[in-house]
Amino acid sequence: MYQDVILDHYKHPQGRGLRDGDAEVHHVNPTCGDEITLRVKLDGETIEDVSYEGQGCSISQASASVLFELLVGKELADARKVQELFLELMQSKGQLEPDDAMEEVLEDAVAFAGVSKYPARVKCALLSWMAWKDATAQALSGDGAKETA
């Protein structure tokens, strides 16, 4: 499961650190104590920034880094498609072999295909993605604003 791409992102995380945002969430994976604090900054329908801070295993850390690379700059609608496809891949229990079409959408994130075989680790890989989904919903509803200012 430890693809070079994953180890690379783990050792050199992209976009790490908390910056300005429209909403902030804190998610925890109770089964292993992985934690992430994540902020989303939107510019209309475009994702201007995703910033995060946290602790956890290589999978959860690398996954957040990949998320940053993939989603920042995207339109929300496209980003959602990426998120959904990643979720599908992670829930595939190793049954889904990424093809070219998938690789086009998920880019580095296809490296996580192997993780889907390890139920205990799927939650690690999804932690930042669930946090992003949640933060985006809050940013859109305006709820998050007061929390980060």
Binding site: T31, C32, P119, A120, R121
Partner: protein, 419 residues
């Protein structure tokens, strides 16, 4: 001379799956096991799964990143999927594993005692049960009533062993918070009219708990069709191992209600100052669960489903019809409970003149026939019918007409002996 009845299963094949049925007792007498309402026997298919679990995959569940832990978790959670499918649960997360039906029922009673409004059972509110409940569906509510100040009420019984619902509007009132009743009685055999009770409970906003311990093993069970809020049953009566029970509950309720047992596995995060709880079902599964037993129950569900719950029901109906008919031929025999096979399960209680059930059971045992005697954990039923105890014969998917005949012959011997 073997009796042929419509709807019988191929018991010759089925009996080969159950090692214990080959056993002889008392110097070579063939075992005639008619104590299925107390516990069922286990097929080879279930024992094989237990052995395979312990010999290949045994590990604690959840939180593990090694192969065995992943195996065990997948098998345990897979069993939850199987049970959810078996009872047509809308969601697998509504299936809670307990140690037996008694724990399931106590779990509900305790949740309601510690719940916030609108569920809280408290002084000024009422709990409704029936006079034909198993002690496991009486005592938890008595304890809850004592400890909260709530009032315990119940439906009485008619002379022919059915619920007396004539005063349903007085029994279930606006004060009623919960109505808990048995789907099939383990002593009378009666199958109760769910719809009428649920309709009235819903009218007043009371929760409905159904004790399906004697139903789940014997007939298709559909928690959505029942429209109950909670359904409890137990593994050992349905070809599963001992040490495993189930509580199904509606998801919103499981979310809203407080936990019961605290400990490992049921938490989200713990500090010395406070804890938060995992979502259901884990919130209600404190500590290392009965892992092998849940997996064994999953195998039992596969076994029963393979034969088909409708087919099992038809088989038992045929056997029950035959048994009722043959038993009523025995002089001085009085069936306690419905005297036809309509709306009844395959447990038949009876008295035999003045002969005490203990003596009936003992003399039957000497002939290799295993029945249960006593009050069957339903003493109020004995009080109601003015009898100290009953003898109970109860059948299952492997029971045969020849076993009914053996019982009837055995009862003749009992009568001769004590006559």
């Amino acid at each position: 001379m073997t009796v042929q009845l419509p709807g019988l299963l191929d018991t010759e094949a089925i009996r080969k799956d159950f090692p214990v049925l080959d056993r002889t007792v008392h110097d070579g007498k063939k075992l005639v096991y008619l104590d299925n309402a107390a516990t069922s026997q286990k097929p080879r298919q279930v024992l094989d799964v237990l052995n395979e679990y312990y010999e290949r995959h045994n590990s604690n569940v959840h939180r593990g990143v090694h192969v065995l832990a992943e195996d065990a978790t997948a098998l345990y959670e897979g069993a939850r999927d199987k049970v959810a499918g078996f009872i047509n649960a809308p969601s697998r997360d509504e299936v809670i594993f307990t140690k037996n039906a008694s724990e399931s029922l106590n779990l509900v009673a305790n949740m309601l005692g510690w719940a916030d409004e609108p569920y809280r059972v408290d002084r000024g509110t009422e709990i409704v049960i029936t006079e034909m409940e198993h002690h496991s569906n009486i005592v938890p509510w008595q304890l809850l009533a004592q400890r909260t100040g709530a009032k315990l009420k119940w439906f009485g019984l008619t002379d022919d062993g059915r619920l007396d619902l004539s005063n349903i509007d007085e029994v279930i009132t606006e004060k009623t918070k919960v109505v808990s009743f048995v789907l099939v009685s383990n002593i009378l055999g009666t199958l109760n009219p769910v719809e009428e009770i649920v309709r009235r409970a819903q009218e007043v906003g009371a929760l409905v708990v159904i004790d399906a311990s004697q139903a789940a093993p014997h007939m298709p069970l559909d928690v959505q069709a029942l429209q109950a809020d909670f359904v409890a049953f137990t593994g050992h009566k349905m070809c599963g191992p001992t040490g495993i029970g189930v509580l199904w509950g509606r998801q919103e309720l499981l979310e809203d209600l407080p936990p019961f047992l605290g400990g490992g596995e049921m938490i989200e995060t713990v500090s010395m100052h406070s804890s938060t709880y995992a979502p259901a079902p884990h919130k209600f599964e404190a500590g290392t669960p009965p892992i092998a037993q849940a997996i064994g129950l999953g195998a039992a569900v596969d076994y029963l489903t393979g034969i088909g719950m409708e087919n099992i029901q038809a088989h038992e109906h045929a056997i029950t019809e035959y048994a009722v008919r043959r038993l009523l031929e025995v002089p001085d025999l009085r069936i306690i409970g419905p005297t036809t096979a309509e709306d009844r399960g395959a447990a038949i209680s009876f008295t035999l003149g003045d002969i005490h059930p203990h003596d009936v059971g003992q003399v039957l045992d000497e002939q290799g026939i295993a029945v249960r005697v006593g009050h069957h954990c339903a003493r109020p039923v004995c009080l109601r019918y003015g009898i100290p105890a009953t003898t109970r014969a109860s059948f299952y998917l492997y029971s045969t007409p020849a076993e009914v005949d053996a019982l009837v012959d055995g009862l003749e011997q009992v009568r001769n002996f004590f006559g």
